[in-house]
Amino acid sequence: MEQFTSIFKRELLAYFRTPVAYVFLVIFLVASGVCTFFIGNFFDSNHAGLDLFFTFHPWLYLFLVPAIGMRLWAEDRRSGAIELLFSLPITVGEAVLAKFAAAWLFIGIALVLTFPLFFTVNYLGKPDNMVMMSGYLGSFLMAGAYLAITNLTSALSKNQVVSFILSCVICLVLVFMGWGVFSRILSDYLPVGVVDFIVSLGFVGHFETLSRGLINFGDLLYFLSVISVALTATGIALNRIKTA
Protein backbone atom coordinates (compact mmCIF):
# COMPACT_ATOMS: atom_id res chain seq x y z
CA MET A 1 0.00 0.00 0.00
CA GLU A 2 2.84 2.40 0.84
CA GLN A 3 4.40 1.64 -2.51
CA PHE A 4 1.08 2.41 -4.15
CA THR A 5 0.91 5.74 -2.35
CA SER A 6 4.44 6.76 -3.27
CA ILE A 7 3.96 6.08 -6.97
CA PHE A 8 0.49 7.64 -6.89
CA LYS A 9 1.92 10.78 -5.35
CA ARG A 10 4.81 10.97 -7.81
CA GLU A 11 2.58 10.51 -10.84
CA LEU A 12 0.02 13.06 -9.69
CA LEU A 13 2.68 15.65 -8.90
CA ALA A 14 4.36 14.89 -12.24
CA TYR A 15 1.39 16.54 -13.98
CA PHE A 16 1.86 19.73 -12.02
CA ARG A 17 5.65 19.76 -12.47
CA THR A 18 5.19 20.20 -16.20
CA PRO A 19 2.86 22.54 -18.10
CA VAL A 20 0.67 19.51 -18.95
CA ALA A 21 -1.62 20.01 -15.98
CA TYR A 22 -2.23 23.70 -16.56
CA VAL A 23 -2.69 23.36 -20.31
CA PHE A 24 -5.10 20.50 -19.77
CA LEU A 25 -7.12 22.28 -17.09
CA VAL A 26 -7.44 25.45 -19.12
CA ILE A 27 -8.41 23.63 -22.31
CA PHE A 28 -10.87 21.38 -20.51
CA LEU A 29 -12.57 24.26 -18.73
CA VAL A 30 -12.67 26.52 -21.79
CA ALA A 31 -13.81 23.74 -24.11
CA SER A 32 -16.53 22.51 -21.78
CA GLY A 33 -17.71 26.08 -21.29
CA VAL A 34 -17.71 26.86 -25.02
CA CYS A 35 -19.58 23.63 -25.77
CA THR A 36 -22.20 24.28 -23.13
CA PHE A 37 -22.84 27.96 -23.78
CA PHE A 38 -22.19 28.44 -27.49
CA ILE A 39 -22.69 25.11 -29.21
CA GLY A 40 -25.33 23.90 -26.76
CA ASN A 41 -27.00 27.31 -26.32
CA PHE A 42 -27.29 26.81 -22.60
CA PHE A 43 -29.32 29.99 -21.94
CA ASP A 44 -31.78 29.41 -24.77
CA SER A 45 -32.47 25.91 -23.51
CA ASN A 46 -34.11 27.52 -20.49
CA HIS A 47 -33.45 24.40 -18.45
CA ALA A 48 -31.95 24.38 -14.96
CA GLY A 49 -29.64 21.43 -15.27
CA LEU A 50 -26.28 20.38 -16.61
CA ASP A 51 -27.54 17.99 -19.31
CA LEU A 52 -26.10 20.20 -22.02
CA PHE A 53 -22.76 20.37 -20.27
CA PHE A 54 -22.56 16.59 -19.92
CA THR A 55 -23.74 15.89 -23.49
CA PHE A 56 -20.40 17.03 -24.79
CA HIS A 57 -18.26 15.05 -22.36
CA PRO A 58 -17.97 11.84 -24.41
CA TRP A 59 -16.56 13.99 -27.25
CA LEU A 60 -14.33 16.16 -25.12
CA TYR A 61 -12.84 13.14 -23.39
CA LEU A 62 -12.13 11.55 -26.73
CA PHE A 63 -9.10 13.83 -27.12
CA LEU A 64 -8.39 15.14 -23.68
CA VAL A 65 -8.22 11.89 -21.73
CA PRO A 66 -5.78 10.18 -24.14
CA ALA A 67 -3.70 13.36 -23.95
CA ILE A 68 -3.49 12.95 -20.17
CA GLY A 69 -2.94 9.20 -20.17
CA MET A 70 -0.65 8.66 -23.15
CA ARG A 71 2.52 9.34 -21.18
CA LEU A 72 1.73 6.98 -18.29
CA TRP A 73 3.77 4.02 -19.55
CA ALA A 74 5.01 5.11 -22.97
CA GLU A 75 7.18 7.82 -21.44
CA ASP A 76 8.66 5.47 -18.85
CA ARG A 77 9.40 2.90 -21.51
CA ARG A 78 11.04 5.42 -23.81
CA SER A 79 13.15 7.07 -21.14
CA GLY A 80 14.16 3.82 -19.46
CA ALA A 81 12.54 4.80 -16.15
CA ILE A 82 10.70 1.50 -16.37
CA GLU A 83 14.05 -0.26 -15.77
CA LEU A 84 14.38 1.44 -12.44
CA LEU A 85 10.70 1.13 -11.58
CA PHE A 86 10.67 -2.63 -12.08
CA SER A 87 13.84 -3.06 -10.03
CA LEU A 88 12.13 -1.43 -7.04
CA PRO A 89 10.13 -3.60 -4.64
CA ILE A 90 6.81 -2.85 -6.32
CA THR A 91 4.49 -5.28 -8.07
CA VAL A 92 3.38 -4.54 -11.62
CA GLY A 93 -0.23 -4.47 -10.38
CA GLU A 94 0.52 -1.82 -7.78
CA ALA A 95 2.30 0.31 -10.34
CA VAL A 96 -0.55 0.03 -12.86
CA LEU A 97 -3.17 0.93 -10.25
CA ALA A 98 -1.12 3.80 -8.84
CA LYS A 99 -0.48 5.40 -12.21
CA PHE A 100 -4.10 4.99 -13.21
CA ALA A 101 -5.42 6.37 -9.93
CA ALA A 102 -3.16 9.42 -10.14
CA ALA A 103 -4.30 10.32 -13.65
CA TRP A 104 -7.93 9.61 -12.74
CA LEU A 105 -7.78 11.87 -9.73
CA PHE A 106 -6.25 14.54 -11.91
CA ILE A 107 -9.24 14.35 -14.27
CA GLY A 108 -11.43 14.42 -11.16
CA ILE A 109 -9.78 17.69 -10.17
CA ALA A 110 -10.56 19.09 -13.62
CA LEU A 111 -14.20 18.07 -13.20
CA VAL A 112 -14.41 19.63 -9.75
CA LEU A 113 -13.09 22.88 -11.23
CA THR A 114 -16.25 23.15 -13.36
CA PHE A 115 -18.06 24.03 -10.11
CA PRO A 116 -18.95 27.58 -11.25
CA LEU A 117 -21.37 25.97 -13.68
CA PHE A 118 -22.98 24.09 -10.83
CA PHE A 119 -23.45 27.30 -8.90
CA THR A 120 -24.62 29.23 -11.97
CA VAL A 121 -27.42 26.75 -12.52
CA ASN A 122 -28.33 26.95 -8.85
CA TYR A 123 -28.32 30.75 -9.03
CA LEU A 124 -30.45 30.93 -12.15
CA GLY A 125 -33.00 28.29 -11.33
CA LYS A 126 -33.98 25.44 -9.08
CA PRO A 127 -32.15 22.41 -10.41
CA ASP A 128 -32.21 18.93 -8.92
CA ASN A 129 -28.75 18.84 -7.41
CA MET A 130 -28.80 15.08 -7.02
CA VAL A 131 -29.28 14.74 -10.76
CA MET A 132 -26.27 16.98 -11.35
CA MET A 133 -24.21 14.96 -8.88
CA SER A 134 -25.19 11.78 -10.63
CA GLY A 135 -24.08 13.39 -13.88
CA TYR A 136 -20.71 14.22 -12.36
CA LEU A 137 -20.39 10.65 -11.12
CA GLY A 138 -21.21 9.36 -14.58
CA SER A 139 -18.73 11.71 -16.20
CA PHE A 140 -16.01 10.72 -13.76
CA LEU A 141 -16.62 7.01 -14.33
CA MET A 142 -16.66 7.47 -18.09
CA ALA A 143 -13.38 9.40 -17.90
CA GLY A 144 -12.00 6.46 -15.90
CA ALA A 145 -12.98 4.08 -18.69
CA TYR A 146 -11.29 6.28 -21.32
CA LEU A 147 -8.25 6.55 -19.11
CA ALA A 148 -7.98 2.81 -18.46
CA ILE A 149 -8.02 2.22 -22.21
CA THR A 150 -5.34 4.88 -22.68
CA ASN A 151 -3.33 3.23 -19.91
CA LEU A 152 -3.39 0.03 -21.95
CA THR A 153 -2.40 1.67 -25.24
CA SER A 154 0.32 3.54 -23.40
CA ALA A 155 1.78 0.26 -22.16
CA LEU A 156 1.64 -1.15 -25.67
CA SER A 157 3.84 1.47 -27.29
CA LYS A 158 6.99 3.37 -26.46
CA ASN A 159 5.66 6.22 -28.53
CA GLN A 160 3.22 8.61 -26.89
CA VAL A 161 1.73 9.69 -30.22
CA VAL A 162 0.98 6.10 -31.19
CA SER A 163 -0.59 5.53 -27.81
CA PHE A 164 -2.66 8.72 -28.17
CA ILE A 165 -4.00 7.80 -31.59
CA LEU A 166 -4.70 4.18 -30.62
CA SER A 167 -6.70 5.17 -27.58
CA CYS A 168 -8.58 7.88 -29.52
CA VAL A 169 -9.63 5.29 -32.08
CA ILE A 170 -10.67 2.68 -29.51
CA CYS A 171 -12.64 5.25 -27.51
CA LEU A 172 -14.20 6.64 -30.69
CA VAL A 173 -15.46 3.16 -31.55
CA LEU A 174 -16.89 2.79 -28.04
CA VAL A 175 -18.56 6.20 -28.26
CA PHE A 176 -20.00 5.45 -31.70
CA MET A 177 -21.35 2.11 -30.54
CA GLY A 178 -23.59 3.82 -28.03
CA TRP A 179 -24.38 6.93 -30.02
CA GLY A 180 -28.00 7.33 -31.12
CA VAL A 181 -27.22 8.50 -34.66
CA PHE A 182 -25.00 5.53 -35.30
CA SER A 183 -27.39 2.96 -33.82
CA ARG A 184 -30.22 4.27 -36.01
CA ILE A 185 -28.06 3.62 -39.08
CA LEU A 186 -27.17 0.18 -37.78
CA SER A 187 -30.81 -0.75 -37.15
CA ASP A 188 -31.47 -0.54 -40.88
CA TYR A 189 -29.16 -3.45 -41.45
CA LEU A 190 -29.12 -5.51 -38.26
CA PRO A 191 -31.79 -7.12 -36.08
CA VAL A 192 -32.89 -5.07 -33.05
CA GLY A 193 -31.37 -7.49 -30.57
CA VAL A 194 -27.93 -7.18 -32.10
CA VAL A 195 -28.15 -3.38 -32.30
CA ASP A 196 -29.23 -3.22 -28.66
CA PHE A 197 -26.31 -5.39 -27.67
CA ILE A 198 -23.86 -3.18 -29.57
CA VAL A 199 -25.38 -0.06 -28.03
CA SER A 200 -25.07 -1.58 -24.55
CA LEU A 201 -21.33 -1.97 -25.10
CA GLY A 202 -20.90 1.72 -25.95
CA PHE A 203 -20.14 4.53 -23.53
CA VAL A 204 -22.92 6.98 -24.31
CA GLY A 205 -26.02 5.02 -23.25
CA HIS A 206 -24.63 4.23 -19.79
CA PHE A 207 -23.42 7.76 -19.36
CA GLU A 208 -26.73 9.32 -20.42
CA THR A 209 -28.66 7.29 -17.89
CA LEU A 210 -26.37 8.54 -15.14
CA SER A 211 -26.43 12.13 -16.37
CA ARG A 212 -30.23 12.04 -16.25
CA GLY A 213 -29.97 11.17 -12.57
CA LEU A 214 -30.61 7.45 -12.71
CA ILE A 215 -27.94 5.60 -10.81
CA ASN A 216 -28.22 2.06 -12.09
CA PHE A 217 -26.13 -0.73 -10.73
CA GLY A 218 -25.73 -1.97 -14.31
CA ASP A 219 -24.24 1.30 -15.55
CA LEU A 220 -21.81 1.54 -12.65
CA LEU A 221 -20.84 -2.08 -13.24
CA TYR A 222 -20.34 -1.36 -16.95
CA PHE A 223 -17.81 1.41 -16.37
CA LEU A 224 -16.06 -0.43 -13.56
CA SER A 225 -15.81 -3.52 -15.79
CA VAL A 226 -14.29 -1.55 -18.65
CA ILE A 227 -11.78 -0.10 -16.20
CA SER A 228 -10.89 -3.48 -14.66
CA VAL A 229 -10.57 -5.24 -17.99
CA ALA A 230 -8.35 -2.50 -19.43
CA LEU A 231 -6.16 -2.34 -16.33
CA THR A 232 -5.79 -6.11 -16.18
CA ALA A 233 -4.80 -6.07 -19.83
CA THR A 234 -2.26 -3.33 -19.02
CA GLY A 235 -0.75 -5.57 -16.34
CA ILE A 236 -0.57 -8.47 -18.79
CA ALA A 237 1.00 -6.24 -21.44
CA LEU A 238 3.67 -5.03 -19.00
CA ASN A 239 4.45 -8.56 -17.88
CA ARG A 240 4.87 -9.49 -21.51
CA ILE A 241 7.34 -6.63 -21.92
CA LYS A 242 9.33 -8.04 -19.00
CA THR A 243 9.17 -11.52 -20.52
CA ALA A 244 9.77 -10.63 -24.17
Binding site: L13, A14, R17, S79, G80, F86, S87, P89, I90
Partner: protein, 309 residues
Protein backbone atom coordinates in the same frame (compact mmCIF):
# COMPACT_ATOMS: atom_id res chain seq x y z
CA UNK B 1 24.59 -13.52 -1.40
CA UNK B 2 23.91 -13.57 -5.14
CA UNK B 3 23.42 -16.91 -6.82
CA UNK B 4 22.83 -16.98 -10.53
CA UNK B 5 22.33 -20.34 -12.15
CA UNK B 6 21.88 -21.27 -15.79
CA UNK B 7 20.46 -17.85 -16.54
CA UNK B 8 19.28 -17.62 -20.13
CA UNK B 9 17.52 -14.88 -22.04
CA UNK B 10 16.23 -15.25 -25.56
CA UNK B 11 14.83 -12.35 -27.57
CA UNK B 12 12.86 -14.07 -30.30
CA UNK B 13 15.55 -16.28 -31.81
CA UNK B 14 18.52 -14.27 -30.64
CA UNK B 15 20.13 -15.67 -27.50
CA UNK B 16 21.34 -12.68 -25.50
CA UNK B 17 22.43 -14.54 -22.37
CA UNK B 18 23.20 -18.22 -22.55
CA UNK B 19 23.37 -20.33 -19.41
CA UNK B 20 25.27 -17.93 -17.19
CA UNK B 21 26.01 -19.20 -13.65
CA UNK B 22 28.03 -17.66 -10.83
CA UNK B 23 27.91 -16.96 -7.13
CA UNK B 24 29.00 -13.77 -5.47
CA UNK B 25 29.54 -13.97 -1.69
CA UNK B 26 29.45 -11.02 0.68
CA UNK B 27 32.54 -8.83 0.54
CA UNK B 28 33.24 -9.44 -3.08
CA UNK B 29 33.24 -6.90 -5.90
CA UNK B 30 32.56 -8.71 -9.12
CA UNK B 31 33.52 -6.95 -12.32
CA UNK B 32 31.36 -7.81 -15.24
CA UNK B 33 33.30 -7.35 -18.42
CA UNK B 34 32.48 -7.84 -22.04
CA UNK B 35 32.26 -6.11 -25.38
CA UNK B 36 29.13 -4.11 -26.19
CA UNK B 37 26.21 -6.41 -26.85
CA UNK B 38 27.75 -9.32 -24.97
CA UNK B 39 24.81 -9.54 -22.57
CA UNK B 40 26.09 -7.60 -19.56
CA UNK B 41 23.14 -5.27 -19.21
CA UNK B 42 20.63 -8.01 -19.95
CA UNK B 43 22.16 -10.19 -17.23
CA UNK B 44 22.05 -7.34 -14.74
CA UNK B 45 18.46 -6.56 -15.60
CA UNK B 46 17.55 -10.16 -14.89
CA UNK B 47 19.40 -10.04 -11.57
CA UNK B 48 17.43 -6.99 -10.42
CA UNK B 49 14.18 -8.40 -11.75
CA UNK B 50 13.32 -5.70 -14.25
CA UNK B 51 13.05 -8.34 -16.96
CA UNK B 52 12.27 -12.04 -16.62
CA UNK B 53 14.76 -14.68 -17.71
CA UNK B 54 13.71 -17.21 -20.33
CA UNK B 55 15.08 -19.85 -17.98
CA UNK B 56 17.38 -20.15 -15.00
CA UNK B 57 17.19 -18.77 -11.48
CA UNK B 58 18.49 -15.83 -9.48
CA UNK B 59 18.71 -15.89 -5.68
CA UNK B 60 19.41 -12.75 -3.70
CA UNK B 61 20.25 -13.30 -0.04
CA UNK B 62 18.46 -16.65 -0.13
CA UNK B 63 15.30 -15.29 -1.76
CA UNK B 64 14.36 -16.62 -5.16
CA UNK B 65 13.91 -13.55 -7.34
CA UNK B 66 11.10 -15.00 -9.41
CA UNK B 67 9.13 -16.60 -6.59
CA UNK B 68 9.76 -14.02 -3.90
CA UNK B 69 10.40 -10.93 -6.00
CA UNK B 70 9.67 -8.20 -3.49
CA UNK B 71 11.77 -9.72 -0.69
CA UNK B 72 14.68 -10.16 -3.08
CA UNK B 73 14.36 -6.66 -4.55
CA UNK B 74 14.30 -5.04 -1.11
CA UNK B 75 17.92 -6.05 -0.64
CA UNK B 76 19.00 -4.60 -3.96
CA UNK B 77 20.31 -1.26 -5.03
CA UNK B 78 20.44 -0.85 -8.79
CA UNK B 79 22.14 1.74 -10.93
CA UNK B 80 20.60 1.35 -14.39
CA UNK B 81 22.43 2.08 -17.62
CA UNK B 82 20.78 5.47 -18.18
CA UNK B 83 20.84 6.43 -14.57
CA UNK B 84 18.02 8.81 -13.85
CA UNK B 85 15.08 9.54 -15.97
CA UNK B 86 12.46 11.49 -14.08
CA UNK B 87 13.75 14.75 -15.51
CA UNK B 88 10.91 16.91 -14.28
CA UNK B 89 11.76 16.19 -10.63
CA UNK B 90 14.45 17.86 -8.58
CA UNK B 91 17.21 15.71 -7.10
CA UNK B 92 15.63 16.02 -3.67
CA UNK B 93 12.14 15.15 -4.95
CA UNK B 94 13.43 12.14 -6.86
CA UNK B 95 15.38 10.74 -3.93
CA UNK B 96 12.42 11.39 -1.63
CA UNK B 97 10.28 9.37 -4.00
CA UNK B 98 12.78 6.52 -3.85
CA UNK B 99 12.85 6.81 -0.06
CA UNK B 100 9.04 6.48 -0.04
CA UNK B 101 9.15 3.40 -2.24
CA UNK B 102 11.92 1.94 -0.09
CA UNK B 103 9.73 2.62 2.94
CA UNK B 104 12.23 4.80 4.71
CA UNK B 105 10.38 6.91 7.24
CA UNK B 106 11.00 9.44 9.96
CA UNK B 107 14.53 10.07 11.12
CA UNK B 108 15.82 7.10 9.14
CA UNK B 109 14.68 8.79 5.96
CA UNK B 110 16.27 12.15 6.74
CA UNK B 111 19.48 10.39 7.70
CA UNK B 112 19.51 8.34 4.49
CA UNK B 113 18.95 11.43 2.35
CA UNK B 114 21.71 13.32 4.14
CA UNK B 115 24.06 10.40 3.79
CA UNK B 116 23.74 10.07 0.01
CA UNK B 117 23.73 13.83 -0.42
CA UNK B 118 27.17 13.90 1.13
CA UNK B 119 28.43 10.60 -0.24
CA UNK B 120 27.56 11.43 -3.84
CA UNK B 121 28.43 15.15 -3.65
CA UNK B 122 24.94 16.32 -4.50
CA UNK B 123 24.91 19.38 -2.28
CA UNK B 124 25.21 21.89 -5.13
CA UNK B 125 22.37 20.48 -7.17
CA UNK B 126 20.06 19.24 -4.41
CA UNK B 127 17.08 21.35 -5.54
CA UNK B 128 17.91 21.43 -9.24
CA UNK B 129 15.77 19.65 -11.83
CA UNK B 130 17.33 16.39 -12.98
CA UNK B 131 16.86 17.24 -16.67
CA UNK B 132 19.11 20.28 -16.24
CA UNK B 133 22.00 18.25 -14.78
CA UNK B 134 25.15 17.24 -16.59
CA UNK B 135 25.80 13.58 -17.33
CA UNK B 136 28.16 13.26 -14.38
CA UNK B 137 25.67 14.66 -11.91
CA UNK B 138 22.89 12.47 -13.28
CA UNK B 139 25.10 9.48 -12.81
CA UNK B 140 25.69 10.51 -9.21
CA UNK B 141 21.96 10.93 -8.64
CA UNK B 142 21.49 7.41 -9.96
CA UNK B 143 24.21 6.22 -7.63
CA UNK B 144 22.59 8.01 -4.70
CA UNK B 145 19.28 6.35 -5.53
CA UNK B 146 20.93 2.91 -5.47
CA UNK B 147 22.64 3.56 -2.13
CA UNK B 148 19.75 5.28 -0.37
CA UNK B 149 18.47 2.31 1.62
CA UNK B 150 21.98 1.00 2.31
CA UNK B 151 21.32 -2.28 0.47
CA UNK B 152 23.28 -5.47 1.04
CA UNK B 153 23.59 -6.02 -2.70
CA UNK B 154 24.57 -3.43 -5.29
CA UNK B 155 24.16 -3.92 -9.02
CA UNK B 156 25.89 -1.13 -10.90
CA UNK B 157 25.66 -0.84 -14.67
CA UNK B 158 28.71 1.17 -15.74
CA UNK B 159 28.95 3.24 -12.56
CA UNK B 160 31.73 5.54 -13.75
CA UNK B 161 30.29 6.18 -17.20
CA UNK B 162 30.25 9.89 -17.98
CA UNK B 163 32.28 10.93 -14.94
CA UNK B 164 35.46 12.99 -15.12
CA UNK B 165 38.71 11.42 -13.88
CA UNK B 166 38.37 12.93 -10.39
CA UNK B 167 34.84 11.71 -10.00
CA UNK B 168 35.83 8.30 -11.34
CA UNK B 169 38.48 8.15 -8.67
CA UNK B 170 35.96 9.07 -5.95
CA UNK B 171 33.40 6.55 -7.13
CA UNK B 172 36.00 3.79 -7.31
CA UNK B 173 37.12 4.55 -3.79
CA UNK B 174 33.54 4.42 -2.66
CA UNK B 175 32.92 1.09 -4.35
CA UNK B 176 36.11 -0.37 -2.91
CA UNK B 177 35.11 0.84 0.54
CA UNK B 178 31.60 -0.58 0.31
CA UNK B 179 32.89 -3.75 -1.23
CA UNK B 180 34.11 -5.02 2.11
CA UNK B 181 30.66 -5.10 3.67
CA UNK B 182 28.39 -5.58 0.66
CA UNK B 183 28.02 -7.74 -2.39
CA UNK B 184 28.65 -5.75 -5.53
CA UNK B 185 28.39 -6.52 -9.21
CA UNK B 186 29.51 -3.81 -11.57
CA UNK B 187 29.76 -3.79 -15.30
CA UNK B 188 32.34 -1.78 -17.13
CA UNK B 189 34.48 -1.77 -20.18
CA UNK B 190 37.19 0.27 -18.56
CA UNK B 191 39.84 -2.31 -17.80
CA UNK B 192 41.83 -0.26 -15.32
CA UNK B 193 38.66 -0.07 -13.26
CA UNK B 194 38.63 -3.83 -12.92
CA UNK B 195 42.19 -3.86 -11.64
CA UNK B 196 41.60 -1.05 -9.18
CA UNK B 197 38.21 -2.05 -7.81
CA UNK B 198 37.23 -5.64 -8.44
CA UNK B 199 38.19 -8.69 -6.45
CA UNK B 200 36.91 -10.95 -9.19
CA UNK B 201 36.28 -10.68 -12.90
CA UNK B 202 33.75 -12.39 -15.10
CA UNK B 203 34.25 -11.84 -18.79
CA UNK B 204 31.18 -12.45 -20.84
CA UNK B 205 31.25 -12.89 -24.58
CA UNK B 206 28.27 -13.61 -26.81
CA UNK B 207 26.09 -14.34 -23.80
CA UNK B 208 28.44 -16.91 -22.29
CA UNK B 209 30.99 -16.69 -19.52
CA UNK B 210 34.41 -16.68 -21.15
CA UNK B 211 36.36 -16.54 -17.93
CA UNK B 212 35.78 -16.19 -14.18
CA UNK B 213 38.88 -15.41 -12.14
CA UNK B 214 40.81 -12.93 -10.00
CA UNK B 215 42.21 -9.89 -11.84
CA UNK B 216 45.76 -11.00 -10.97
CA UNK B 217 45.16 -14.45 -12.41
CA UNK B 218 43.69 -12.87 -15.47
CA UNK B 219 46.87 -10.87 -15.99
CA UNK B 220 48.82 -14.12 -16.07
CA UNK B 221 46.89 -15.06 -19.19
CA UNK B 222 48.41 -12.10 -20.96
CA UNK B 223 51.33 -12.86 -23.26
CA UNK B 224 53.03 -9.80 -21.82
CA UNK B 225 52.96 -11.12 -18.25
CA UNK B 226 56.45 -10.80 -16.69
CA UNK B 227 58.01 -9.74 -19.94
CA UNK B 228 60.82 -7.20 -19.58
CA UNK B 229 61.21 -4.07 -21.66
CA UNK B 230 64.61 -2.42 -21.82
CA UNK B 231 66.64 -0.16 -23.98
CA UNK B 232 70.37 0.26 -23.77
CA UNK B 233 71.87 3.57 -24.78
CA UNK B 234 75.56 2.70 -25.07
CA UNK B 235 75.39 -0.59 -26.99
CA UNK B 236 73.94 -1.57 -30.36
CA UNK B 237 70.60 -3.38 -30.15
CA UNK B 238 71.90 -6.53 -31.89
CA UNK B 239 74.57 -7.03 -29.29
CA UNK B 240 72.11 -6.60 -26.42
CA UNK B 241 69.66 -9.03 -28.00
CA UNK B 242 72.40 -11.53 -28.63
CA UNK B 243 73.58 -11.45 -25.04
CA UNK B 244 70.09 -11.76 -23.57
CA UNK B 245 69.08 -14.61 -25.84
CA UNK B 246 71.75 -16.75 -24.21
CA UNK B 247 69.88 -16.62 -20.89
CA UNK B 248 68.18 -19.97 -20.11
CA UNK B 249 64.59 -18.79 -19.61
CA UNK B 250 64.23 -16.49 -22.56
CA UNK B 251 61.50 -17.51 -24.98
CA UNK B 252 61.80 -14.79 -27.56
CA UNK B 253 62.90 -11.19 -28.08
CA UNK B 254 60.97 -8.53 -29.92
CA UNK B 255 62.06 -5.10 -31.06
CA UNK B 256 59.54 -2.38 -30.34
CA UNK B 257 58.72 0.63 -32.50
CA UNK B 258 60.61 3.07 -30.29
CA UNK B 259 63.76 0.94 -30.48
CA UNK B 260 63.36 -0.75 -27.09
CA UNK B 261 63.64 -4.48 -26.67
CA UNK B 262 60.94 -6.68 -25.17
CA UNK B 263 62.09 -9.98 -23.69
CA UNK B 264 59.49 -12.71 -23.23
CA UNK B 265 60.34 -15.36 -20.61
CA UNK B 266 59.47 -19.05 -20.85
CA UNK B 267 56.43 -19.95 -18.72
CA UNK B 268 56.23 -16.41 -17.36
CA UNK B 269 59.38 -16.94 -15.34
CA UNK B 270 60.89 -13.92 -13.57
CA UNK B 271 63.91 -12.94 -15.61
CA UNK B 272 64.35 -9.35 -14.54
CA UNK B 273 67.15 -10.02 -12.05
CA UNK B 274 69.12 -12.09 -14.56
CA UNK B 275 68.82 -9.33 -17.12
CA UNK B 276 69.92 -6.66 -14.67
CA UNK B 277 72.91 -8.82 -13.72
CA UNK B 278 73.82 -9.05 -17.38
CA UNK B 279 73.50 -5.33 -17.64
CA UNK B 280 75.93 -4.62 -14.83
CA UNK B 281 78.40 -7.25 -16.11
CA UNK B 282 78.37 -5.70 -19.57
CA UNK B 283 78.27 -2.10 -18.31
CA UNK B 284 75.03 -1.35 -20.15
CA UNK B 285 73.73 2.14 -19.72
CA UNK B 286 70.00 1.41 -19.49
CA UNK B 287 67.61 4.23 -20.35
CA UNK B 288 64.57 2.05 -19.83
CA UNK B 289 63.90 -1.02 -17.74
CA UNK B 290 60.40 -2.23 -16.89
CA UNK B 291 58.62 -5.42 -15.96
CA UNK B 292 55.20 -5.86 -17.54
CA UNK B 293 52.61 -7.34 -15.20
CA UNK B 294 50.47 -8.24 -18.15
CA UNK B 295 47.74 -6.38 -19.89
CA UNK B 296 44.04 -6.89 -19.33
CA UNK B 297 43.10 -5.43 -22.68
CA UNK B 298 45.24 -8.06 -24.32
CA UNK B 299 43.51 -10.85 -22.38
CA UNK B 300 40.15 -9.23 -22.97
CA UNK B 301 40.71 -9.16 -26.70
CA UNK B 302 41.88 -12.75 -26.81
CA UNK B 303 38.89 -13.97 -24.82
CA UNK B 304 36.19 -11.98 -26.55
CA UNK B 305 37.31 -11.95 -30.15
CA UNK B 306 35.17 -14.31 -32.10
CA UNK B 307 37.16 -16.79 -34.12
CA UNK B 308 35.96 -16.59 -37.66
CA UNK B 309 35.98 -19.43 -40.12
Amino acid sequence: MIEVSALTKRFNKHVAVDGVSFKVPKGEVLGFLGPNGAGKTTTMRMIVGSIYPTSGTVRIGGHDLLADTIAAQKQLGYLPENATTYGEMSVYEFLSFIADVRRLGGSERAKALDRVRELCFLDDVWHQLIETLSKGYRQRVGFAQALLHDPAVLILDEPTDGLDPNQKHEVRNLIRQMGTSKTIILSTHILEEVESVCSRVVIISQGKIATDSKPADLLKKSRYCNSVVLSVANKPKEEVEGTISKLPYVEKIETLENGSVRVFPKKQALIASEISQLASQNKWNMSEFAIDRGRLDDVFRTLTTVQKG
